[in-house]
Amino acid sequence: MIEWTPFWLSFKLAALTTVILFLVALPLAWWLSQTESKSKPLLEALTALPIVLPPSVLGFYMLVAFAPSSPVGAFFEDVLGVKLVFTFTGLVVASCFYSLPFMVQPLQNGFESLNRHMIEASYLAGKSSRETLWKVALPNIKPALLTALIITFAHTVGEFGVVLMVGGSIPGETKVASVAIYEMVEVMEYGKAHIYAAIMLGLSFVVLLSVYVFNHREKQKARML
């Protein structure tokens, strides 16, 4: 009998992370694409860090930061009443850091590929930067937007190292699908591990395939115009 809770947790985590990151990363990506500030490379490097850092390093620092003995952990626990270590909330916060570049970079690339004059035409029409973002920029980068959302979601589902470090493996709370597979292998339940792994593989492939099919169709549509 397959225990579905780890999958449900994985998808709940990915969905929440994607929604939160979209709201956080959208203004950041927009700002990065438009700014001529000297601090741009610094912010870009910071944003990209999770791509190159081993998840265990990121997880370790977050574990230290989230601990009640650290100022961050103490603030969350004393002021907001939220525990971050070994809780689902902590996983969401950690995932937002871990998956940040996968949301920011496609959006930023999309914005940077837009015709600069089109953005300027909106400003000339008296529209603010925010209105230009929502009504002109975002609707014109649909493939990049879809890529950002789907890759962030898929990447969060596939998260392992950070989740294990920050969340541990508490059934129904932090034991997501990737952690569950790891544990099954550890106790040599290869049969179950096979089923779980195959489900993850199939889902990931379908998700990616749908993104590429959509983007392929969009490009063909653009070519026909």
Binding site: M118, E120, A121, S122, Y123, L124, A125, S128, N140, L225
Partner: protein, 218 residues
């Protein structure tokens, strides 16, 4: 009356040079700005529109757009601007492009009618020809009834027949809307039809010439 006293460093093809403009434009003037590529013609328009920063002052009627420590944003200047590459909003229909600037259905219909594209209102702008796109861009630039219209080689990517037709349209719009217009162009015939004043930009310096100077260029 527009008074320009602008100075800006440019990175041109011959290295760093300075764009220096000390001129004034009267209400209703149609200034055609000519000169070789890369000498700062487009930059001049962009500085006036507020799309680029420069030293100096820009005073339009009694309003200080730039100078003595203040700088009006591009949104506040209310200029009409037409780009060479049209710069239409690809996610919108022809009419939506106009209404995005100002929700004035009557004016939008009137402008589309004037530009002879009234039948294309619901068409996606990506489906239009170059000439049709530039007519939409012109109509869009006039939706907030600007006093000042800036055009950066608006006709240069169009075929000769369409250029002739659209320059007549531009002339008509300039008069009808009572605008002051600055237009960058390489086309002598265009300058002849449209300009009442002629500026030449040479290595960042702007000099005014009499219209008869056009005869010497042919």
């Amino acid at each position: 009356m527009i008074t320009l006293e602008i100075s800006k460093k440019l990175h041109g093809s011959d290295g760093v040079m300075s764009l220096d403009v000390k001129h004034s434009v009267n209400r209703g003037d149609f200034v055609v700005i000519m000169g070789e590529s890369g000498v700062g013609k487009s930059t001049l328009l962009r500085v006036i529109a507020g799309l680029e920063k420069a030293e100096g002052s820009i005073v339009v009627d009694d309003a200080v757009w730039q100078g003595s420590g203040t700088r009006m944003s591009v949104q506040q200047r209310n200029v009409g601007f037409v780009f060479q590459d049209f710069a239409l909003f690809d996610n919108m229909s022809v009419k939506e492009n106009l209404l995005f600037v100002k929700h004035d259905n009557t004016l939008a219909d009137e402008l589309l009618e004037m530009m002879e594209i009234a039948g294309l209102g619901n068409r996606n702008v990506q489906m239009l020809s170059g000439g049709q796109k530039q007519r939409v861009a012109l109509a869009r630039a006039l939706m907030h009834r600007p006093k000042l219209l800036l055009m950066d080689e608006p006709l240069s990517s169009l075929d000769p027949r369409m250029r002739r037709k659209l320059r007549e349209k531009i002339k008509e719009l300039h008069t009808r809307f009572g605008m002051t217009t600055l237009m960058v162009s390489h086309d002598i015939a265009e300058a002849r039809v449209l300009a009442n004043r002629l500026w030449f930009v040479e290595k960042g310096r702007v000099r005014e010439y009499d219209l008869s100077y056009l005869d010497t260029l042919e």
